[in-house]
């Protein structure tokens, strides 16, 4: 039968259980620390590789960050044989429908958008999640465009972007994130 609920019993039991749990968690943390870090890094590398033309340096090694109005953008410059061929910009927006959206935007030296990959988003499945390239053609309309002539606003707001049906907020957020990356790129990031 259970031990009687005396003060000493209760305190000692809780103490022992908490100690044992902490020990188990410590072990689990140590064992998973490396795979977690690796998985996050792999995701970043793959996003950088996807949005940039071929390069032979290590953009992650040369990354630099720029503070903008409400956060930090990270630039990953790509070079081929020492020549600057473009940069991947890790950008964000807080205007998404559910939570922050993080994008990796690949920009060529002249400011043309090469490709865009969604790094993190929790937009509505079936609607807002179509900002991802593999889910619809929405992101593709940005590829190869020069934002100085391609106005990154949805058509409803007077821009050149075809919004996703029933997901105007997500479409606007996407434009916001790309604009933020492009502006910072044009403004501060010179090689």
């Amino acid at each position: 039968m259970a031990k009687p609920s005396t003060f000493a019993n209760m305190v000692s039991t809780l103490l022992v259980i908490c100690l044992a749990s902490s020990a188990a968690l410590g072990v689990a943390y140590e064992l998973t620390k490396e795979p977690i870090a690796k998985a996050i890094l792999a995701k970043k590398i793959s996003a950088v590789e996807q949005v940039l033309p071929s390069f032979d340096n290590d953009p992650l090694e040369e990354a630099s960050s720029v503070s903008v109005d409400e956060g930090v953008l990270v630039f990953y410059p790509a070079k081929k044989k020492g020549k600057f061929v473009g940069a991947a910009v890790e950008t964000f927006t807080r205007k998404g429908f559910s939570g922050e959206i993080k994008l990796m935007v690949g920009l060529l030296p002249d400011g043309t958008i090469n490709k865009i990959v969604v790094v993190q988003a929790s937009e509505t499945p079936g609607l807002g999640d179509k900002i991802a390239e593999e889910k619809s053609d929405f992101a593709k309309q940005f590829f190869g465009k020069d934002p100085s002539t391609f106005i990154m606003k949805v058509k409803k707001d007077g821009g050149s972007v075809d919004a996703i049906t029933a997901a105007t907020i997500s479409s606007r957020a996407f434009c916001d994130a790309v604009t933020r990356a492009y502006d910072a790129y044009k403004r501060g990031f010179k090689r």
């Binding site: 031990k3 609920s5 749990s21 689990a28 977690i36 509505t124 609607l127």
Partner: protein, 198 residues
């Protein structure tokens, strides 16, 4: 009760979602696609079986008045372990389930089985109960997410079988309630017929 009956009762007769109506928060929130449903179900199954096992082993050492904090510490530890392991080895599904993994801690099914079953029964019976209940939960999530993904996105496990969009409302929150309601009605009907009613 035989071990087999103990194991299978979670599937239909005492299905945690459809009959006991516990754990409806994850059942409604993550069932937008079959892979999410299965991932959530199996994570919960692991936590249920392991916490039932440990709590059953400790039941004679835990004073009655502090049993709930003790149970919660055990459950929370297993949930954190699942969270870490998923983040390390199953990145894709972890990114999808996100906040709902830590929330398994407060899933009523886990504490419910600890209190109602594991605290009174032996090691093996408790483990089997946790396993059965967890698989019942997985089954429920799979059924709900199957209908939601099929109707809402026209897909099964991410493979589209129609062109274009499905009936989008089924992917959204109201669709979860529609499907949930209909499936509960059908399961109740089946249970009634099985127990000799008409």
């Amino acid at each position: 009760m035989s071990l087999w009956a103990n194991f299978t009762k979670g599937f239909l007769k005492e299905n945690p979602v459809f009959i006991l109506v516990l754990g409806t928060c994850p059942a409604l929130a993550v069932t937008t696609s079959v892979s999410n449903g299965i991932g959530m179900g199996l994570s919960t199954t692991f936590v249920l079986a392991m916490s039932n096992l440990v709590i059953s082993a400790l039941k004679n050492f835990i004073p009655d008045k502090v049993r709930i904090p003790c149970f919660i510490v055990v459950i929370a530890s297993f949930v954190t372990i699942v969270d870490l392991v998923m983040a390390g080895f199953f990145q894709a599904i972890h990114a999808q389930l996100g906040i709902f993994i830590p929330l398994i801690v407060v899933n009523c099914i886990v504490l419910g089985r600890a209190e109602a079953f594991a605290a009174k029964n032996g090691l093996l019976a408790s483990f089997v109960d946790g396993l059965g209940m967890g698989l019942g939960f997985t089954l429920a999530l799979t059924i709900i997410s199957f209908f939601r993904e099929a109707l809402g996105a026209g897909a099964f496990l991410g493979h589209k079988f129609i062109r274009g969009d499905g009936i989008l409302v089924f992917v959204l929150a109201p669709g979860a309630f529609f499907v949930f309601g209909y499936v509960i009605a059908i399961v109740n009907r089946i249970n009634k017929m099985a127990s000799g009613g008409k």
